[in-house]
């Protein structure tokens, strides 16, 4: 067992925060996970809150990047929505702990950081709503409230944090395709 890096600590924190929640995880729990004492963690990080901040900010950045990518990418509105669904599913299935912590524990962030994360989440949602609105205006999707349509689509995707298992019956890609179909047919 070699020495642990700050990166290892952040990873393990993501895992435990996702599993037991921020308030259900003590620094001693986190130490156990890494094979050292709770107090020893403080040579790697400043505070427990800072760990939460770091895990969640990394999650937020992933979704932000996806939104930028899909917005800049080409194709018809319907295709952009499909691309976003695939990308969103891929983020969660390959960073499940970070995503779960981002979605469930952000309310426990210190005020300033919480506001910043809520802003990022709002911006992401706005981008998705923009894509869906285009597809409503251009025809493929039926006339409906874009805000509600967006929430419903993201609900399907975000629930992946709760039930996806990498060793499950279906691969992440198969699941993503089923979600593309469900969401797009659901909006037509």
């Amino acid at each position: 067992m070699t020495t642990r890096s700050r990166e290892d600590v952040v990873q393990a924190a993501g895992r435990l925060f996702a599993l037991r929640g921020f308030h259900g995880t003590s620094m001693r729990d986190l130490g156990d996970e890494l094979g050292l004492l709770g107090s020893s963690l403080y040579s790697h990080v400043e505070s427990k809150e800072q760990l939460l901040v770091e895990v969640i900010q990394r999650g937020a950045v992933l979704f932000q990047s996806l939104a930028d990518e899909v917005s800049a990418g080409g194709g018809a509105p319907e295709k952009k929505v499909a691309d976003l669904v695939r990308g969103h599913a891929a983020i969660i299935t390959s960073h499940q702990d970070m995503s779960a912590t981002f979605l469930n524990e952000a309310r426990f962030l210190p005020d300033r950081e919480r506001r910043a994360i809520v802003d990022m989440r709002d911006r992401y949602e706005s981008t998705v709503r923009g894509l869906i609105s285009e597809a409503i205006g251009n025809g493929p999707f039926r006339d409906q409230d874009p805000a509600l349509a967006t929430i419903m689509a993201l609900s399907v995707l975000n629930a992946l944090t709760r039930w996806f298992r990498a060793d499950g019956r279906q691969s992440a890609e198969e699941i993503a395709e089923a979600m593309v179909e469900f969401i797009i047919e659901g909006l037509k």
Copy 2:
């Protein structure tokens, strides 16, 4: 300010557990909410865990009753799915705290109670899967994996615990109808 009943304590516990989580809520917080000391709560309840058990069991019962009701009720498979969607949405929008606690905090239940709740949740999901399978077999829904279809439908509904506001732009009924359409079109 009159004296508090056990019922008041359970209600307030549901509210705080939904808002800040089980581990993020102290008995002193709960006392504050009710205008008394944390230690005074113990004349109403045996333990903090027992409060969690009570809130969550009440939630589980609501969904169980809905499943029984819809199963016994008549109509084509597609109509039953629509009824279930409406009923599930109604439970969450009219018992949001209980539902959120049921869905998010059950992992913190003592072992025995947690297993019982997981069983109830599994039975509920089985019932829904049965209805969806019927609608796949009978034609209205396209051929697809019923388990995944069920998870996706319930994901849309359960996310209501996260965003629904009684004073929002749309009524609970309007939202429920939009979900009926989204889910049923998504499965066709």
